[in-house]
């Protein structure tokens, strides 16, 4: 099927299948909330655009993934990304045992198992390798103790993929392993963290002598950091995906149109610059995604996507606040002519931590300075 035809099919199918009431939602929807839709996507075979076909993915090229995603964005679909699809899946495909692949991959695709991600800790944010949650092998199980933070949707998850310290004596990076844990296991406590928008996607997860079967390790013992880094690469390309800014840019356009600003040269100068910031990121994203498509890994250079898109995203919401005037500081939905709902302040808030998650933009700049520009330490 040629690309144009496929694009049309996607748009048509979304239009026919996506529940009207979920379009342009006030808050980002969770995977659980949209289970019926996830199911439809799965049945259509569209759960994992980035996975190879042999594992049930769509095997799309970079260009195709972007245009596929665009169809969703344009329709006003705003659902939290499925990190098991974007991050865990590719990692299992590369490092998992045959048994792990056989068991988990289909269940990720079908949504039967929902995942959350356990990386950051209160004392290990930017300095992720400083993590202290420990896992000690006793018999057939790891015994896990410690605390994770910023775990999105932990309260809705069946399992967690996480980094733990399995060797306290080794150098920081060398004593880390990658485990898959059951969120219903005894000893796990979840505390939701309210954020500036008033919602509570993030959680703290506490581990008190939690047992994880030893076959739930991915890769070798104490080799988790390599995979974590590769995962961080995928995370950065996810966070660096143009859609992060496209959706709010679209809402900005709608707001501006209603306010009659499209003919205002001062607004247009800013708006068109932002559109180009996103379009140029699209072009850059394609170069990076090509690398993945070739089956190669992305290195430290991926940090540039993350920096650019998150800072663009913030500029978009800055302008959104500015043009909305006094209504921008109301803690209320604005309902637009086409029925879309916008809460400008919440977009503004939500864009703030974008430059923090997945390694602050300062860290990303350090990485680029050292690893790419080869500047001295």
């Amino acid at each position: 099927m040629d690309e144009q035809a496929f694009r049309l099919e996607v748009r048509q199918w979304i239009k026919e299948n996506f529940p009207e009431e979920w379009r342009f939602p006030p808050h980002r929807l969770s995977l659980r909330q949209t289970e019926t839709w996830q199911r439809k996507l799965y049945e259509k075979g569209w759960s994992a655009p980035n996975w190879p076909k042999e594992y049930g993915g769509m095997g799309l090229t970079a260009y195709q993934q972007i245009s596929f995603q665009q169809a969703f964005d344009a329709h006003g679909i705003n659902i939290a990304p499925n990190m098991a699809v974007t991050m865990l899946g590719p990692l299992l495909i590369r490092y998992g045992t045959e048994a792990q692949k056989q068991y988990y991959l289909p269940r990720i695709l079908s949504g039967e198992i929902r995942w959350c991600q356990g990386y950051s800790e209160p004392g290990a944010g930017s300095d992720l390798a400083g993590l202290r949650t420990s896992a000690v092998l006793q018999g057939d199980h790891f015994i896990v103790n410690g605390q994770k933070i910023w775990t999105s949707y932990a309260h809705e998850a069946d399992m967690i993929f996480m980094l733990v310290r399995t060797d306290k004596e080794a150098k920081k990076q060398e004593g880390i392993s990658f485990l898959l844990g059951d969120m219903k296991a005894p000893g796990i406590t979840i505390r939701r963290i309210k954020n500036l928008t008033g919602s509570s996607e993030f959680c703290e997860v506490f581990f008190d002598n939690v047992k994880i079967p030893k076959e739930n390790i991915v890769g070798q013992l104490n080799q988790g950091w390599t995979m974590a880094k590769s995962l961080l690469g995928s995370e950065r390309i996810t966070i660096g995906s143009p859609r992060v800014a496209k959706y709010p840019l679209q809402l900005l356009g709608k707001l501006a149109k209603e306010r009659g600003l499209m003919e205002n040269p001062e607004f247009r100068a800013q708006y068109d610059a932002l559109r180009l910031d996103v379009a140029d990121l699209d072009a850059t994203f394609v170069r990076f995604a090509e690398v993945l498509r070739r089956g190669e890994e992305l290195g430290p250079e991926v940090s540039l996507l993350k920096i650019w898109i998150t800072e663009t995203y913030q500029r978009v919401t800055d302008l959104m606040i500015e043009i909305t005037g006094e209504a921008a500081v109301l803690d209320e939905m604005l309902v637009l002519a086409d029925g879309a709902q916008v809460h400008p302040a919440n977009h503004y808030f939500a864009s703030r931590p974008a430059s923090i998650y997945g390694g602050t933009n300062e860290i990303q700049r350090n990485i680029l300075a050292k690893a790419i520009l080869e500047l001295p330490g």
């Binding site: 944010g125 005037g325 500081v329 923090i356």
Partner: protein
């Protein structure tokens, strides 16, 4: 962090006193815990704190001594308001006292002055100023709200938006169009034909919408006669802009202090994150914005204290509001970033500063609005 205000600026004894008593008052009133607890609860501020302010005479800080007010100059008043900003105090000192009260003071109804000003000062009665007719508009010639003359009075019709402290107000000073120009009227809360809608704001306060459907107002409740309303509004709006700038200065300077303290103690990679040059420079850039704001406010206060000339005051008010609105948003955003992930949580105080900055930066005209206005008002030297 060294306070440049104490390092290079000099204050009179009176100014120092005002500053210290305000600082201690707001700290007694409760820390940010109080702000947190009142969020989303009408009227959006503490009546008891308001009363305590009245006892200190602060509700008349702007009133001349002949009305038993403190009659502070703007140089002094801005020190008081700055402390309120640092404390994120939600009490409507600016909107109810300085602006709505000021509209009565600068109007031409001596009877109303005698009736209202003492009660306002005593904390027993609060007016709200209902002047804005459209989002993002700072137009003071009323157009959509009309006052039609009727036997012995007027009938008011139309809607007013974005009224701070509308909840809790005992009356509204309403601007309306008459055939002879804008006039101001005092409309009591609950008058027949009025509806008040309140809209929650991100900072936990409220904006009110006042809908008027042929509301009867007697001529004796006319605060400023037809044709005079606009000048009165322009005056209190510019005073409000300067005052809001002082509050913004307080908000941003405290936000920066908190953040600098945070990055001194938060460790990553085995050292305080405040030792990293990138964060140091970011903090310095915010510091520069705070100090520019402080300068421009001092300049504005000096202009206001030197002259009641509306043209000069308009320039100074726009200059101050443009800088302080822009700076406060940048500082608050930068401070959230300095805090890292924790800055995005509701538990962390820094978010309160961001939300307060948004409200004050937007109210009475955004930075972009005031840069435009300044550009129109000040002929180029070219």
């Amino acid at each position: 962090m060294i306070d440049l205000k104490t390092r290079i600026d000099r204050f009179s004894d009176q100014q120092r006193m005002i500053q210290e008593s305000a600082a201690s008052f707001f700290s007694d009133a409760g820390n940010y815990k109080r702000i947190r607890e009142r969020r989303g609860i009408a009227p959006g501020y503490d009546q008891s704190v308001w009363k305590a302010m009245a006892d200190l005479g602060w509700l008349g800080f702007w009133l001349p001594e002949k009305y038993d007010g403190m009659g502070l100059g703007f140089a002094e008043a801005s020190l008081l308001l700055e402390q309120g900003g640092r404390a994120l105090a939600p009490e409507p000192l600016i909107s109810a006292a300085l602006m709505a009260g000021g509209a009565i003071l600068h109007g031409d109804n001596e009877g109303l002055k005698a009736e209202c000003l003492p009660r306002l000062m005593a904390g027993d009665w609060k007016p709200a100023l209902a002047w804005q007719e459209a989002e993002s508009s700072q137009q003071t010639e009323s157009s959509s709200v009309t006052a039609v003359a009727q036997s012995g009075g007027f009938a008011l019709t139309g809607s007013k938006y974005f009224i701070p402290a509308a909840e809790g107000a005992d009356a509204f000073v309403v601007a309306a169009r008459t055939p002879s120009g804008t006039a101001l009227f005092l409309v009591d809360k609950g008058s027949a034909g009025t509806v008040i809608e309140t809209h929650p704001r991100v900072d936990g306060g409220f904006f009110g919408t006042l809908k008027l459907a042929g509301v009867r107002v007697s001529a004796s409740r006319c605060v400023a006669s037809p044709g005079m309303g606009r000048a009165v509004l322009d005056r209190v709006l510019d005073e409000g802009r300067l005052a809001a700038s002082a509050e913004l200065l307080g908000v941003m300077s405290r936000a920066l202090e908190i953040s600098v303290a945070y990055i001194r103690q938060r460790e990553q990679f085995g050292r305080p994150i405040g030792s990293f040059q990138a964060l140091q420079h970011r903090a310095v850039d915010l510091f520069i914005l705070v100090e520019l704001s402080r300068s421009v406010l001092a300049h504005g206060a000096a202009v206001f204290d030197a002259s009641p000339d509306p043209a000069r005051r308009a320039v100074a008010a726009s200059q101050a509001k443009a800088r302080c609105s822009d700076a406060a948003l940048k500082v608050a955003k930068g401070c959230v970033q300095l805090h890292g992930g924790i800055g995005y949580t509701d538990e962390c105080d820094i978010g309160l500063f961001l939300k307060k900055s948004m409200v004050l930066a937007t109210w009475l005209g955004s930075a972009a609005h005031h840069r435009r206005r300044y550009g129109e008002l000040v002929a180029e030297a070219v």
